[in-house]
Symmetry: C2
Subunit: 213 residues, 2 copies
């Protein structure tokens, strides 16, 4: 019995099970559209446990939200950037960002949903800003190296650089339904994905290589 992975009476496992189901529910239906009863049905446990472990619906939503940013950071940290030129390292980061958004629509949707919620819940969490500090430090070092080597000729802040590629990677996933409808295409088709992945890198590199007019 104690070797059984799905043994009950293990609070951590129960919490984790609830969180997994809740992530699906919230990202599919939004904060207000999610149904606690539907989440409960999807778990190995009962609705009472959701309230026992997370207090209320908002508490559960907050717990789900608190998990998604650290997950992104952990993936990001796995990147190996040894012995790369500034351009290569930047391309590797953009590739990662592109793939992560493409493969984690749940993440993208949760972020959208939290923005519809005016970011109120995220502001209440002690969201590990180390997430972004790491990546910003890295972008900063790339920019400095590129400028020292006279490869990059533009002054741009790490934050703006980050916004430039992230906005594209995010938007093509977050808005694929409306864009595909309005423009009569399939934004996430594999041919579009391949071309877009190349495009976002080319555009940013072209900018960094170019000089102020």
């Amino acid at each position: 019995m104690s070797g059984d992975i799905t043994t009950s009476r293990d609070a951590d496992q129960t919490r984790q099970n609830i969180l997994e189901v809740a992530l699906k529910e919230f990202s599919e239906y939004g904060l207000t559209g999610a149904r606690v009863d539907r989440i409960a049905k999807g778990t190995r446990t009962t609705k009472g446990m959701i309230y026992y472990h997370f207090g209320d619906k908002d508490g559960l939503y907050k717990a789900v939200l608190e998990e998604i940013y650290p997950k992104l950071r952990k993936s990001e940290e796995k990147l190996d950037k040894s012995n790369l030129s500034p351009i290569e390292e930047l391309e590797k980061i953009i590739d990662f960002t592109f793939e992560y958004h493409k493969n984690n629509e749940n993440f993208v949707r949760m972020v959208m949903i939290e923005n519809i919620n005016n970011g109120e819940t995220l502001r209440k969490t002690d969201v590990d800003t180390g997430v972004s500090q790491n990546i910003l430090m890295e972008l900063s070092s790339i920019l400095i190296r590129g400028q020292k080597e006279k490869v990059f000729n533009r002054n741009i802040s790490p934050i703006d650089l980050h916004l430039l590629y992230t906005s594209f990677c995010f938007y093509r996933v977050s808005n694929h339904h409306t864009v595909s409808t309005v423009l009569g295409m399939n934004m996430l088709s594999s041919s579009n994905s391949i071309r877009h992945k190349r495009l976002v890198k080319d555009v940013i590199i072209a900018y960094l290589l170019s000089s102020e007019p």
Copy 2:
């Protein structure tokens, strides 16, 4: 009585009044978060009229959604592009897009909400795709002129070009809550807005001017 702007027993005026209030409600709370009773309270009329004129909540949501794209198109058409170089014309279009998103957070939020809704409602409307056809034709003509004049050295489709600048203009508004929290800044501050507006144009122009490696 009949000269009174807020005269009742005018179906068109009633519909318009409901639509205005509904846009605010839906864009603030989302499709599932919006409350029909709250909309009714905000109008000059009663809840019964919402059902009388729009059938049900989804019908009202659809009517709101159907209004926002044509509004964007009408604004876009007002742009005067006579006697401009390809670069100037493109800059004018990007400026417009940037300002429209910045000044119409309601529009941005409705699009987000519809994507959370998997674009199901938009697909049911006969959304005037002329909206985008016009702008795509214009981008196409800019690209062709720029290439003929040997100013632009890149092959990019009008759609991809459109996606590039729109994604940035959209994202900085749609995600300003979470980004501002995570990066510890105010994305929509006027100094950021001014810099971003310059940046998105510079990046795209730099790309078009550069040549394939």
